[in-house]
Symmetry: D3
Subunit: 183 residues, 6 copies
Amino acid sequence: MKYKFIKKKINYNGSELKPLYAYVHHQLHGDSIVAFAGSCDVTLDHMVDAEDFVVGAKIKADCMLHFIVEMFGQNLMTAVSLQRLLVSIVQSHLMGAGVTLIRKGDDLYLKNKKLSVSIASCSAVSSQIHLGINIENGGTPVPTCALKDFSIEPVKFATAIMEKFTSEYISIVEATQKVRPLQ
Amino acid sequence: MKYKFIKKKINYNGSELKPLYAYVHHQLHGDSIVAFAGSCDVTLDHMVDAEDFVVGAKIKADCMLHFIVEMFGQNLMTAVSLQRLLVSIVQSHLMGAGVTLIRKGDDLYLKNKKLSVSIASCSAVSSQIHLGINIENGGTPVPTCALKDFSIEPVKFATAIMEKFTSEYISIVEATQKVRPLQ
Amino acid sequence: MKYKFIKKKINYNGSELKPLYAYVHHQLHGDSIVAFAGSCDVTLDHMVDAEDFVVGAKIKADCMLHFIVEMFGQNLMTAVSLQRLLVSIVQSHLMGAGVTLIRKGDDLYLKNKKLSVSIASCSAVSSQIHLGINIENGGTPVPTCALKDFSIEPVKFATAIMEKFTSEYISIVEATQKVRPLQ
Amino acid sequence: MKYKFIKKKINYNGSELKPLYAYVHHQLHGDSIVAFAGSCDVTLDHMVDAEDFVVGAKIKADCMLHFIVEMFGQNLMTAVSLQRLLVSIVQSHLMGAGVTLIRKGDDLYLKNKKLSVSIASCSAVSSQIHLGINIENGGTPVPTCALKDFSIEPVKFATAIMEKFTSEYISIVEATQKVRPLQ
Amino acid sequence: MKYKFIKKKINYNGSELKPLYAYVHHQLHGDSIVAFAGSCDVTLDHMVDAEDFVVGAKIKADCMLHFIVEMFGQNLMTAVSLQRLLVSIVQSHLMGAGVTLIRKGDDLYLKNKKLSVSIASCSAVSSQIHLGINIENGGTPVPTCALKDFSIEPVKFATAIMEKFTSEYISIVEATQKVRPLQ
Amino acid sequence: MKYKFIKKKINYNGSELKPLYAYVHHQLHGDSIVAFAGSCDVTLDHMVDAEDFVVGAKIKADCMLHFIVEMFGQNLMTAVSLQRLLVSIVQSHLMGAGVTLIRKGDDLYLKNKKLSVSIASCSAVSSQIHLGINIENGGTPVPTCALKDFSIEPVKFATAIMEKFTSEYISIVEATQKVRPLQ
C-alpha cells in the first residue's frame, strides 16, 4: 500500500469514489491511500450510502481533510472492517494529542459534535473507503467539531494517519500469510 | 453474532481453535464470541502461528482471560482485520478505565510489558480468532502486565468487550448492506 | 431475511431489479423478499436476461404478483440455486392447494400454459431474484395460466410464499454453520 | 456433471464423504453424483454434522439408497442450497408416483415417519452432499418410512433422480452465464 | 469453452469488451473465445486500461485479428493469468512457424516491433480478455510487425489458437478437479 | 513474491507440499518460490494428484531440481493457470538455450521423453505448486530427458526461472490493479 498527500485543493463531490481514482488522478498504482483538503458536497447522484440517499441527507462541509483508500482483491466485508480500523486509528492518534473522542461505528464525536463522515463500497475490480474529517466547522448541516478546534495541523496529521494505516494494512496482509489452516 | 461468558475454568492449550468450538462445547450456533478464564499453554502441535512455531515460542500464562471468535462465510483477511479491531476495542475500553496501552498489530503493551496474545486463522468452513489477556502475571515467558494490575474484574470486563465486539460486528455487516456499487 | 407485502400497486418495468431496491423504496434493510401486485412490461433497456434480449422477447402481463429477493454476500450461483428453490416452494404450495404444476428450471407450467417469469443476477454488492406470477391472464404474449384460474388470493398467497422462503433461507444459512470441514 | 449408479453394495460409514470420492473409487472425474445401496452407520469420527455429534445421534439403517454429490468451485452456501433442491426433486418425483411427503429443510417425512438423512459440507477443493433414503425400515433409530413401503424400485428411482439433478445443475450453471450484471 | 471464427469483418472500438458479447452477438453461450478481423480504434470512453487512459494512448491499427475470451465464475487474477497463457500460446505457435518473438507480459515483440495489444478485466458476472494481433502494419501509432510479415494466414491461425486455448482451458479446469486438499 | 535457491540437498517425498513450507523451513514469508536439488519419491500418503493415486503411479527420480511456489489469497484455478505459465516459462527459457520441448498441459517432453512432473493444489490458507525437473535420468519409471542431456547447469537455470516467474507474478498482480470494471 502506497500513500500520498495531494497538495492541490480538491473539492470532494463523491465522484472521486470511483475505481482507480488514485491511479488515474495521482499516479498511485495498486493499493493506496491518498489525502487532500477541500470542501465536501456530495451530490445525490454520487451518494453511495443509500441511508443518506433515502433521507436526502446533506453531506457537506466548507473545509475538510479527505482520505481515499483503494484496495484490490479485497471484498466489501474486509473494506468496511478496515474502514472501522482507519477511524479507530484516527481516534487513537487524536487521543495521543489529548483529544478524547467517541467512535460510533464509522463516526467520531466530541460529545454530540461530529468530526467526520465516512463510507465504504466496492466495484467489480476494487474496494474503496472515503473518510472526511472537518478541518473547520463552516458549512456543515449538523453540530460539528474540527481539527482547528484541537489546533491540529491537517497536513502533518494526514501524513501520520496514512503512515499508520499503511503499516497496519501491510501487517494485516502479512498476518494472513503465516498461519496454519484450522482443521 | 452471539456471545457467552463460560463460568467454568478452561485451560487453553490451542486445541480450542477448531471449527465449531463454541457450538460443540458451549451450544452457541452461528457467528459467536465466547470468553472464559484459565491457564494458557499452547502445545507445538496446536501452534497455528508459524512464526511462533519456527522459533519454538512459549505461549504460556497461569491465568488468562480467553476470547474465541468464530465467523462463518468470512475470509482470513476479514478475520485478521476484525482481530485488530477487537484488540483496538480492548484498548479503548481500558483507556476508558484509565489504563493507557499501546497497540502494536494484535498485541497490547504497557510500555514493554505485554498484556495479550492473539492469533487468527481459518478452515474451509469458518474463521476463528483467539485473544488471550493476562488476568495475573504468573507463568509468562516475557515481561507482562495483567488485568489484576489495573484492578479490572475479568467477568465484567469480558462481558463488556463481547457486547462491544458483537455490536461492532453486526454494524459492519449492516454497513455492507446499504451501499450502492461503485462504477 | 425480512419480508414485506407492499400494498401499493407497482407496475414492474425491470428497473426495480437494482441493488438496494427494497431498502431505498420499502425501508427493508439487509437480506429481504418483498412482494407487490402490478402490471409487467420489461423494457429492452432493463432486460437482464440476454436470452430474452437476443430474441426481443416480450415480458408482459397486465396483472402480476411480483417477488423481489435481495441477498448480500452471496454469489450468482447461490442466487440461481435459491431462485429454483423459490419456484419449487411455489410449486409445492400450489400442490397443497390442489394445483399440479410442472417446473422446468425457473418456469412453472400447467400443461403448456405458463404461470411465471423469473430471472436472477448480481451486482458488485448483492444478488437479486425477480419472480413474477400471473394474477390474471390478460396481456401476456404466450398461453398462460394465472392465480385467478385457481381461485388463489394473491396477498395471502404472497405472504405464505415469503414466509416459507424466508424460513428456508435462514435454515440454509444455519446449515452452513454446523458442519465440520471435509478433509 | 456426470452420474453413475454403482451396482456393488457399499455400506456407508461416513468416510465416503471425502474429496474426490467418486473419482478415486468410481472413476468419475469432475462434478458428479453417484448412487449405491448399502447399510448406513456413521461413526462419531466421520460425523460431519456437529448437531448430530453433540447429541451423539445415531445415523443408522440396514438398507439405504445413498447419493453422493461432489461439486468443484462452488461454496458451501451453494452446496446447501443445491442439497435442498435435490431433496425437493426427490419429493416432486415421489409425488409423481403418488406419494405425498413433507419436506422440512433437508428431511422428508410421511407424517412423522422419516424417509431420509442428509448433510452437506466442503473442503478446500470441493463441496459434497450425502443424501440417504431408506430402502427398507430395518435398523433405524427413529420411526421411518422407506421406498419399499411405496413399492419404489431403488435402481430405477436412483437413476431418475440423478438424471433430474444433473439436468437441473447444468441448467443452473447455464443460467449464471446469460445475465447482464445489475447496476 | 466454445470457439468460433466470425467471418464478417468487425471494426473493434472497445465496446465489444462487454459481458455476454459472444452470446448476444454470436450466439455462443457460456465460456467462449471468438475471433474476427477488422480495424482497431479504441475510444477513450471504452478504454479499460487506465494506464492507456492516463497517457491518452492510441490503440489503433487498420487491420487486426481480434480474440475475445469470456469466462464465467472466474476472478480477475485468473483472467490475467490466462491472458498471459493465451499470449504464450500465440508465441509458441508462431515459434512452430519459424517466427521467434519475445513476450513481455501480455505483449509480443519482434525486436522492438510490437505485434499485439491486450487487456483483461471483469464485471460482476464474468471476466473477459481482448487480444488483438496485427494482420497488417498500417495505421499503428508505434513500430509494429504483423502476421502478413510472416506470411501467416489469419483465419487458419485464429482457428489453431482458439483450439489450443480451448483445450488448455478445459485441461486447467480438469486439473482443479483431481487434487486432494493440502493440510 | 520472493525467491531463494536452497543450497542444501533436499530429497522430495511430497510432504513438502504443505502450507507455509517456505516460511517454516526456509524463512521466506509471504508469496514465494524456492528451488532445491534432491531425489524425488512421492509416497502414496502424500500423493496430491488423485490421478496418480488411482493408478498407483510412481513419481520418482534420483536427481531432480524442485520448485515449490506458495501463493496466499489466490484460488486453485489461478494456481493451476500459473502452474501452466511456470512450465511455459521453463519451455521458453530452454528454447532460448536451443532445446525445443513440447508442452502438454503441465508436462514438458523431448519427443516421448518426459522432462518434468508437476502438481498444484490448495489448503484453506494458500495455494501451492510443485514442479520437478530431471537433473539426471536415473531412477525414473518412464523414458525421460534431463537438464544434464542439454548441458544445463541447475543452479543458474533455477535462479533464472525463479526470477522470470517472480517478475511475471508481480506483473500479473499489477495488471489486475489498473483496469476499469466492465459493465
